[in-house]
């Protein structure tokens, strides 16, 4: 199938998601148009079109190597795209560096967490945005703020926010990475497999937190291989297959088997819950 056949059901009249909220219409917060990226001969992304709305959790699924992480890194300014457009609140933007993304209000929780093991929790949460008083950093105020955020997320079991990340468990590191992303007044929070390393309880916590972000009007892009998590948290499910976006459909219109089909073959023969949606030929 070609990318132009990709399903995009967001914005159709009268649609409601499974929580009974109208699916947002109007200008998407973030829109990718024919976004392409290659690494040498490897076509990581081919003309990806995707709309991300405020107040919506958009799950991005796909097999290993489908291009999920590359998509996120393009939005986050890690890999500038080779072709296509990124629109932010309807206006084309150039996100060339992580700073550009941050100044737009885009925060990312990376798959590899991107934490410095040798720094402590506070230092990691404020990395690149330290508060200063004169030439020196204002450690006390940063520590207070970090503690506040961690407490409000009710996430962690850490003994001290002044211990190095090297001494934390995988789940604790994830919690720090998530806290780091939500501490700023962000508009879009991107999470690349945030629950991959977590146990049952911490997964539930991260999912609940993800919902709360959307309820507060933030856009969330949520990448996961775990379809339980995806169906629990997502309003909209976008599927990448070999670097192409093959579907973007409200979660309420999909079932697990269809997502599995889309992820593994790029198409599904199963009927979609509403007549208005079509799978590309």
């Amino acid at each position: 199938m070609s990318d132009s056949d990709a399903i995009d059901a967001v914005g159709e009249d009268g649609d409601t998601d499974r929580r009974g909220r109208p699916v947002p219409t109007g200008v998407p917060l973030l829109e990718l148009r024919k976004l392409s990226k290659h690494f040498g001969a490897v076509e990581a992304l081919t003309e990806v079109d995707l709309q991300v709305h405020a107040g919506v959790v958009t799950a991005l699924v796909g097999d290993n190597g489908a291009g999920k992480s590359v998509t996120l890194k393009t939005i986050a300014g890690i890999h500038p795209p080779d072709g296509g457009l990124i629109l932010w609140e309807g206006r084309p933007v150039h996100i060339r560096a992580p700073k550009d993304a941050a100044s737009l209000g885009i925060e990312t929780v990376y798959q590899d967490l991107a934490l410095c093991n040798n720094l402590d929790i506070v230092q990691n949460m404020f990395l690149g945005r330290e508060r200063s008083r004169g030439i020196f950093m204002d450690e006390d105020s940063m520590e207070t703020a970090a503690v506040e955020t961690l407490k409000s997320l009710r996430t962690t079991t850490v003994k001290s926010v002044r211990q190095t990340v090297a001494s934390l468990s995988g789940g604790q590191r994830q919690a720090v990475a998530v806290a780091k992303a939500v501490m700023w007044n962000s508009k879009l929070v991107i999470m690349d497999e945030p629950t991959a390393a977590l146990g049952v309880a911490q997964t539930a916590m991260v999912l609940a937190m993800t919902r709360r972000l959307a309820e507060r009007g933030l856009a969330v892009i949520f990448v996961s291989h775990n379809f339980n998590d995806v169906f629990e948290v997502a309003d909209q499910i976008a599927v990448l297959y070999l670097g192409r976006l093959v579907a973007s459909i409200p979660a309420a219109h999909l079932d697990r088997q269809m997502v599995v089909d889309l992820v593994t073959t790029g198409t599904t023969t199963r009927a979609i819950a509403t007549s208005t949606n079509q799978i590309g030929a």
């Binding site: 040798n118 230092q123 990395l127 407490k151 916590m205 919902r211 972000l213």
Partner: protein, 440 residues
Amino acid sequence: MAVNADPDRSPAGALEPVGVRDEATPLDATAPAAPDSSVVSLDAYVRAYVARVRSGDSGLLPVVCGLVLISVIFQVSNSHFLGVANLVNWLQQASLYMVMAMGIVFVLLLGEIDLSAGYVGLVGGAIAAEMLSGTHPWPLGLVIPIALLTTAAIGFGQGLLITRLGLPAFVVTLAGLLGWEGVLLLILGTGGTVPINDKYFTDIATGYFTNLTLSWVIVGALVVIAAFVLWRRDNRRRSSGLVAPPVALTVMKIVAIAVAGTALVLLVNANRSILKVAPIRGMPWFVLEVMGLLLIWTLFLGRTRPGRYIYAIGGNKEAARRAGVSTKWIRTMGFTICSVNAGAAGMLIAGQSGGMATSIDGGQLVLYSIAAAVIGGTSLFGGRGKAIHGVLGGLVIAGIVNGMALTGLSAQLQYVITGLVLLVAVTIDAVSHRRADTTV
């Protein structure tokens, strides 16, 4: 842990500008999930320290043990080793390694290396010597800045090659090691030596305050300031519920600083002249210079944003980049600071030997300084280290050099021993690195 996944509870605190607390999110101080950021008891602190040492983060422990060991061994073989005269002599020899090694700490923190620092420093010394010699010597107030700026420029240039062209630091600075020795030979010319007769310049390395009260005043003031800053900071953190050491520990630190200060003054105020006729007493300038540099670099690394970024890059370069840190500039800055320190060490060398000579071995100088930084506790793997490591490591290296000479052992043996000590330090470093990595 208490995970609260109830979506009805407001998450608001997470999104508020920091510092604003949302009433809907009461901070439950008793909840085990909340990070416990209160003052820990001394007992807990000691236990945490022991746990840290066992997990590989042994801090200053190995180098302090090393210093004690060196003192005992050499004192047993020669009873003059810990005499006043030799102690000050030891400090003076150490000062070059200390200054040089503090710079090396910067590049090691970045996970890089600088092999050229020795000759870069000597080039700085040679430039100063050239400017001060001849019939029209330049004023000292220009000579020192120009020499230091030149070394800074060299470090900056090498840093640009490494960060902009992506060349390995090892190769670029190896080229520097060779190239700057050549430049040094060119500067010093056929004679091979350029003597310095400027008394004020040599005083940088050999001068001292003859006024004994001044030693007490200077060190006393420093101790009082340090104690005040330490006390106020820890107190403020304790009272605002931040992570803070127990009162007892703060007091212990202050006492330790006071004891060290007193010991230093007693040492420098004692007569260190070997000849009984003319006593030499008073605070050497180089001690204050080293302490000043130590203070500057400690504050820089620990309290400023560029300093923080040096650690971040050494810990996870990609994470630093994603956090918006301009990693190339910070790394270039690290190489520049290393070279400036080398330049300062070059001034000390020129001052101590009353000039610059081609016989001074910049290769050995930089290797000893790298060894000093590592022996002091700075990790070769990047991200772990402090300016004080360069100082303490420099003391160890100079202690070995000094002790071996004093006990009449051959230079060959000195190299072997230094090599072995470095090996032990690297082993400690590697083991603790592995431990830190596997305690996930």
